[in-house]
Subunit: 272 residues, 2 copies
């Protein structure tokens, strides 16, 4: 079983009306410096809705708020579809550890219909194929980056925190699960949080950081994700603004064929 599938494995427990409880746990394969990688938490929260017996459709939007540090160990989730319409469904999902809420999520699921479609964002041009780019060395890194095969075309994690401030924080990289795993909504949700903090790229200086809110829009349906399979996707990320303790980050995840799979945004606390 792939470590991501282990990490998002949930056991359904109590159910009261529409509220379904699940029990999960942090996984050492996705440990961060302190506590778990936020991407796995996002994937677990999404998975609660995926597994809920009343679920309709597939995810189109997910917002995760990281409310408090998650301790290594068990996490109790409560997932509730607050509104189910004909083709859309709205969710509130909470993650609890004693003594309280450690994360919340809202999600929108939808049954899609075929319509006029077009991509307006521009995928970076002239990007070498993944095989032509070296994998980022992960030795000495926390567990979670070791669960990704990242190949940076620009804006790599700084090899040294030399405090040489850069003019921008843009990163472009090929990324896939390591070991390989066919792309699905859970892994796409986790990938949305796999961009290193923009302030590291920009300032090449250590800072305490913590994502407070992460929003991902899923443009792909499961059929398109299946087409991507186990191949790399192209990630692009940049910051818009750093202001008094918070910066935001905006990112895109592209299929090798140039389909926008997800756009993702987050707000990150930092202390310099």
């Amino acid at each position: 079983m792939h470590p991501l599938d282990q990490a998002i494995a949930l056991r359904a427990s109590e159910r009261q009306d529409l509220s379904q409880e699940f029990t999960g746990a942090t996984h050492p394969a996705y440990a961060n410096m302190v506590g778990p990688f936020g991407g796995t938490a996002a994937a677990q929260l999404l998975q609660c809705a995926m597994l809920h017996p009343e679920r309709i459709g597939e995810p189109v939007a997910l917002t995760v708020n990281f409310a408090a540090p998650v301790a290594d160990g068990e996490i109790r989730f409560v997932a509730r579809p607050v509104r189910t319409n004909r083709s859309t469904q709205h969710w509130i999902i909470e993650a609890h550890q004693a003594p309280g809420v450690v994360a919340t999520a809202t999600a929108v699921f939808a049954v899609r219909r075929e319509t006029w479609s077009d991509v307006e964002a521009v995928m970076p041009a002239n990007v070498p194929v993944p095989d032509a780019v070296a994998r980022m060395p992960v030795k000495g890194m926390p567990a979670w980056p070791q669960r990704y095969d990242m190949r940076f075309v620009e804006g790599a994690f700084p090899s040294a925190f030399d405090e040489q401030e850069q003019t921008h924080s843009r990163s472009t990289l090929w990324v896939r699960d390591e070991p390989e795993r066919a792309l699905d909504f859970a892994s796409l949700a986790a990938l949305s949080d796999s961009f290193f903090p923009r302030i590291y790229i920009r300032r090449r200086r250590r800072a305490m950081i913590g994502t407070v809110s992460l929003t991902t829009y899923f443009h792909a349906d499961s059929a398109l994700l299946a087409q991507v399979g186990t191949r790399h996707v192209l990630g692009v990320a940049k910051a818009l603004n750093y202001q008094n303790g918070y910066f935001d980050q905006t990112g895109e995840l592209w299929s090798p064929e140039g389909q926008l799979l997800a756009s993702t945004h987050q707000l990150v606390y930092f202390k310099d």
Copy 2:
């Protein structure tokens, strides 16, 4: 009293532990074609947290999910701080109308500290001052656009739905409340939803649309908003992707002096 202040006026009603109920209503001055303007709903949801007796700090992130059509009339809100830390606070807020939830919101509030700060996004250059740009005519429009003074530099609301598809959906405009009103978090939240649907700009073709999820990051604190006062702010918006019934929109709101006040993202349902 300014119509926006009337629209976001809430009456505190029941309180159970940390959950505080408020009663509000839709306001005819912000009516849309059907139901109310989503921006006012976002401002009402945010206002619940602003008015809650347990609130700390100022908003840094707000996500509103529009779950069902809102009928004209009374709305019952329930606001709950699910986690309060030393300098951050996490909220879940629900809006109810019989027979159920019509919108949900999550918000992050924070007490900011001064840090290294810098803007990385680029404000459009060579934009004429507001006085040099004509105000968009609002005759024949629903009530809510009449509550804004919008001056389009590019990407205006199409004067005719001539089905001449454009290459992009980018809009740049000066915008302020009409009548004038000093900028605050409520009006900034509402402004975040004031960009016309990108698909109208892109396709110049009518479509049924409805925002399903709206996220706004507030980069400004109340002191900076006070500096902007009643002046116009510069709005920029574009779409990234349109795919089988949903498109996303990303936007920025800038002070005249080039400070990024808010970045905002939404996912919109459409039917063509």
